[in-house]
């Protein structure tokens, strides 16, 4: 574990690439958002491709009659636009008739609906009026042309901000969809430290939606929430800048930044968090034995890459070769970059073939990448950690720090286990 160095990465040059990008579009966010918002339905207005994407990404979850679906555009919808609005009204009415438990309906724009300029904003207003007060209809875009993977959550939360009620209380707003168990742990920690009242965006149910106003302060729990952050600022709220709560160090720094905003001394945080911090350090140390000294390469995916690289280099002793991110928000990622020792290449955007050339040249011990690249790289003899799991698995705050490190250690441990028993199949070129 390296001590903080004055030479962070904030001013390091960033390799900006444009070319083929091997990433998900923002529609994918629906898969975890619909679990978090228990009375919301996500209706994608798109094509068969969009439906097929959600089905492929959601795996078996699709069979649980989930609260999302796709209104598939057909030939006749492309012909006349007025028709498309009427069709949408009809499909929404049928859906709401079938699902009385729905309180919030999100119309989610896709590439096809954006390209034909189908005005789902207007549709949302009209449908909101038609189905008020029982159902609130909002809209955002999860299209691939505008959003990359986790930016879908950003676009969704940002769409909720303008309709939040006005509040004049000094409140902490936790921003970012976290698994319920993690959210509860966090609320418990903040309560023990003395930070109250605390509300969450998104709330689990529509009735629990937070208010916002000029006394609101908010802390991001996810690094991909640039638009949401800007929308909250427009409502007069103020962002607490902090590293993200990954690992013991990230969690402690995050809590201290929040505590400071509420006039609570860092010593209080240290006292309250002593036990969970020790637990986290202990849990991480197991995995760190496997990870120490190993070289890691991040391909762009979720914008979690920078904070995760910080955790893995500082708390697990890994060495980062390249940290790729789909977008680099300097203001949001800055505190993280300060903590990462200079050395790794930072890259924003992607030209996947060029980046794969760099991976092959560097032959890292572990490559973090998407599912379309993982098996092909494994077959070339390179260990991989598929990135989407980092979004679906609870990894934030103290109690999950060990799990987070273990996610990266597991592929390396497995490799060692299998290597011991049988020679590896040499990749056929």
């Amino acid at each position: 574990m390296t001590a903080p160095t004055p030479t962070g990465c904030r001013d390091a040059p960033v390799l900006k690439e444009r070319g083929q990008r091997e990433v998900f579009c923002g529609l994918t966010g629906i898969i975890w958002l619909h679990r978090k918002m228990q009375d919301a339905f996500f209706l994608v207005v798109g094509s068969r491709t969009c439906a097929h994407l959600l089905q492929s990404a959601a795996g078996v979850m699709i069979f649980a009659e989930p609260r999302f679906g796709t209104a598939i555009l057909e030939e006749k919808d492309l012909a006349g636009m007025a028709d498309a609005q009427a069709e949408l009204d009809r499909e929404v009415a049928r859906l709401l008739d079938r699902r009385h438990d729905i309180r919030r309906l999100f119309l989610v724009g896709s590439c096809p609906s954006e390209v034909i300029k189908l005005d789902i904003g207007k549709a949302a207003e009209r449908l909101s009026a038609a189905h008020a007060p029982h159902v609130q209809v909002l809209n955002y875009s999860g299209s691939g042309i505008e959003t990359t993977f986790t930016e879908g959550e950003d676009a969704c939360l940002a769409a909720m901000v303008p309709v939040l009620s006005e509040s004049d209380r000094k409140e902490l707003l936790l921003v970012g969809a976290l698994p319920d168990v993690v959210e509860d742990q966090t609320l418990g920690l903040l309560d023990a430290i003395g930070v109250t009242p605390v509300r969450c965006l998104p709330a689990r149910r529509a009735a629990e939606a937070p208010g916002v106003g000029s006394k609101t302060v908010f802390a991001l729990t996810q690094p991909f929430l640039g638009e949401t952050s800007a929308a909250l600022v427009r409502r007069g709220a103020r962002r607490i800048a902090a590293p993200f709560p990954f690992g013991a160090e990230g969690t402690t720094l995050w809590l201290k930044a929040v505590a400071a905003e509420f006039g609570i001394a860092p010593e209080v945080v240290d006292r309250v968090t002593a036990a969970p911090r020790a637990r986290a350090a202990k849990a991480v140390s197991g995995a760190a034995e496997t990870l120490r000294g190993k070289r890691i390469f991040f391909m762009p995916d979720s914008q979690l890459e920078i904070p995760l690289a910080r955790f893995l280099t500082r708390e697990c002793g890994m060495q980062a070769i390249e940290i790729g991110t789909p977008y680099l928000h300097t203001a949001i990622h800055g505190p993280e970059l300060d903590l990462i020792e200079a050395g790794p290449r930072l890259s924003e955007g992607q030209d996947v073939d060029l980046q794969l050339d760099r991976v092959r040249a560097a032959r890292p011990d572990l490559t973090v990448c998407g599912l379309g690249l993982a098996n092909p790289l494994e077959a070339e003899g390179l260990a991989t950690k598929w990135a989407i799991e980092l979004v679906f698995t609870p990894i934030h705050f103290y109690e999950q720090a060990g799990d987070l490190a273990a996610l990266f250690a597991r592929p390396l441990r497995r490799r060692a286990l299998l290597d011991r028993r049988a020679p590896r199949l040499e990749a056929a070129e």
Binding site: G19, Q20, E22, V23, C25, L27, T28, R35, Q38, V45, S47, R48, T49, A51, H52, L53, Q55, S56, G59, V60, M61, F63, A64, E65, P66, R67, G69, T70, A71, I72, L73, E74, E75, D77, L78, E87, L88, R90, E91, R94, R98, R99, D101, C111, V115, I116, S143, G144, I145, T148, L371, G372, L373, A374, N375, P376, E378, A379, A427, A428
Partner: protein
Amino acid sequence: MKLTLWTYEGPPHVGAMRVATGMKGLHMVLHAPQGDTYADLLFTMIERRDHRPPVSYTTFQARDLGGDTAGLFRTACQDAYDRFRPEALIVAASCTAELIQDDPGGLAETMGLPVPVIPLELPSYQRKENFGCDEAFLQIARALARPMARTDAVSCNILGPTGLGFRHRDDVAEITALLNEMGVAVNVTAPMGARPSDIARMGTAHFNVLLYPETAESTARWAERELEQPFTRTVPLGTLATRAFIDEVRALSGSTRPVDENRLRQPWWASSVDSTYLTGKRVFIFGDGTHAMAAARIARDEMGFEVAGLGCYNREQARPLRALAREMGIEALVTDDYLDVERAIESAQPEMILGTQMERHIGKRLGIPCAVISAPVHVQDFPARYSPQMGFEGANVIFDTWVHPLVMGLEEHLLHMFREDFEFHDAAGPSHHGGHAPRRQESTTPAAQPAASAAAVSGGSMPPETAPAHLQTDLEDTAVVWLACAESELRKIPFFVRGKARRNTEAFAVQRGLARISVDTLYEAKAHYAR
């Protein structure tokens, strides 16, 4: 617009990707927005391929739209050619690119690449994945294959296997071996495993074996016309169809060599007394047209099942499937809406479902055993072991696969005898399903309402929901009332036939205008429907 939760088929460009990924030395350039690369993971994860699909995407973003997306496409084409040096390129637009009208075909043609560039028209808003396969393969064949002198020895091409095909890998091995046994050499297997240069020499074969009409019928018909190659009409799924296929190959090739049936065990397995209890088991069959029709014939003619329902999701096969269903005295179900399929299964109350991944889940919800016979399928149906569906080994595999989910014969009898037994009661389910056997749900009387909402809960990790609308109308429509004694008698009937008994008894009561069902009604109905 149509609200869709689950689709049996992807968009047509995914079909074209299946052709490209099946082939070697061919590269596809897809004009598509960022995000459409998700389709790669179907190949790398479900089929567990050890290399990236040979597909380059332009991955345009919003900021590119105002500018030069056509230029982006040209660059992607040039980069793909320079990097991969394919023998041929196919170019296409995905659904979004279809809207921006850049014409990939025209753009690529003007670039003067030194290899054939084959444009594909894929109408994303009308057609689906199977069409995409069929069309891509047809265009590749049209562009590359020419009439040629035949090989000296009799030979054929195998047409249809693609990437991401249900058991295509092993079907090809099985049929290739069968053809070789008959003295027929396989000239080219395509698309799977073929290079563009192989497609170019397709014309040297004497005839074509069409394994999967869904993916290659257009090519087979084109070759029949342009290359004067007849093609086989029988798909060798099942023992009888395999024998018919052998006869067809004999007629086309003049082969007289005997075929060794020693390793074919399915006919004896099915006639052995252990299988007697399979007689008249009511099966519901759904899948792609080819597999569904073959399964219906196997079920009726080789397993002694009763086909209680037959359907397919691909409209292209609707006509022959409807004809077969008529022949079996049932109404065909042609739909791509899984809710329709679920309703049809509920009303048919089969003892077994043969279907796709989706029907497996419907079966789980309804507590009906199910075996998978068709795409779409999950990763477990791309097995490591050899498991063809076609040919004689395919018949063996099919027998095992279909029989396994059923309650076994002796167990069925014991359940009859000891139905009140505390540890051998119906809720325990079939013993070979371990502790996870699904409970049989009953859904047609008010008394069964709690069971229905329990089904909603066990449907996944979802919070309980209100019963589906069609279930509610079902409840309201049921005018007949079960007397308590009849209800308790019904409970003594083993769970795997109880649904059928309930349906039959209610139908019997309605037919006779009875408002109440007594124990007598139950047994009168039993006698009425006895076979």
